[in-house]
Amino acid sequence: MKIALRVALLIVVVLAAGWLWTVLFPSPEKIVLRRIHGLAATATISPGEGTITRAGKVSSLISYFSTDAEISYDLPDYGTRTISGRDEIREIAAGGFSTVGALKVQFVDATARVGADQQSAEVACTARVSTESNKDFGIQELRFQLKRIDGDWLITRVETVKTLQ
């Protein structure tokens, strides 16, 4: 039994060492996913946040996108549209942030695939949006394309994915 315990202990130590390694030296996929989750946290608005905080969040939100970024959506209630460039994204984000009371954005079930060149990546995820009054306000499958620009992973394209054809 002592041997079994020692083996179990060894397995625990190896697993802990492996986990620590991934924390200290994260893979590009992990860095990309962290970036996407950071975007969700920035897009989340708490009820008590004032105008200045919200304006700061808009600037922070824009920093996740490349200058030529595109957001293309096809949604049942909102139709089809493509938002092009940081300026247009900023304009729409500012308008949305000033009118919404509170919003919680989460990107769940996310997986990242980094290209062989380690300079481009694609993330597939599901956006879950909750408001104060409606916990299940909206769920939408999304695909992000990112590029490594000046050492930072920036979003170059976001598009909605149709779950059902």
């Binding site: 179990a8 769940v108 079930d109 997986t111 599901t126 299940d136 779950t163 059902l164 054809q165």
Partner: protein, 179 residues
């Protein structure tokens, strides 16, 4: 001295209740039990909470249920099955956290047509005893691909445009709703 040895071999009742006569076996049992629970919840019976009214009156908002992920291991979904459909793929070692709950009405290759609130499969009227509400849906015929299933909710009293429905790829159907 004899007493000391005796107490070491025969642990007190507190120890027996808390960690058992042989702590190492208790530890092993806990490990196996936790592993079994994790594997079951992630890969076999996925617990779900219904959100929304699209499956009323069969399933209600906030109802708790389970998805049997092994239901379609040997065969594909059957007409009438209530299935869980994933959104984005979380990868092989994770269970999706967001799913659609819908009923399969059209099988691969079949044409589904909504006319005056009734469903026609390849031109033949589909008997749907689970429907309890009136429906006035009207839509052009839609044909499923070789690996697609047409899914729709049971609440057909909702406006057609507000109801999520359509063709789901086979690999998106993760299992059958248990109850």
């Amino acid at each position: 001295m004899q007493d000391t040895n005796h107490s070491a071999e025969n642990p007190g009742w507190v120890q027996i209740v808390l960690i058992g006569r042989r702590p190492e076996f208790t530890l092993l049992r806990i490990f196996v039990l936790v592993l079994l629970c994790v594997v079951t919840v992630k890969f076999v019976l996925l617990p779900i909470r219904v959100a929304g009214i699209s499956m009323e009156p069969t399933y209600h908002n906030h109802q708790i249920d389970c998805v049997n992920r092994l239901a379609y291991w040997r065969h594909g979904p059957q007409r009438g099955d209530v299935v869980a459909i994933r959104y984005s793929d979380p990868g092989p070692f994770s269970a999706p956290s967001q799913m659609l709950m819908k009923r399969v009405i059209g099988l691969p290759g079949e044409t589904v047509w909504f006319h005056r609130g009734r469903v026609y499969i390849n031109g033949r009227l589909l008997d749907e005893p689970y429907l309890k509400t009136p429906c006035d849906w009207e839509a052009d015929p839609m044909t499923c691909g070789p690996d697609q299933y047409f899914v729709v909710g049971d609440n057909r009293s909702m406006p057609f445009k507000d109801h999520t429905k359509g063709r789901a790829d086979r690999d998106r159907i993760i299992g059958k709703v248990l109850l």
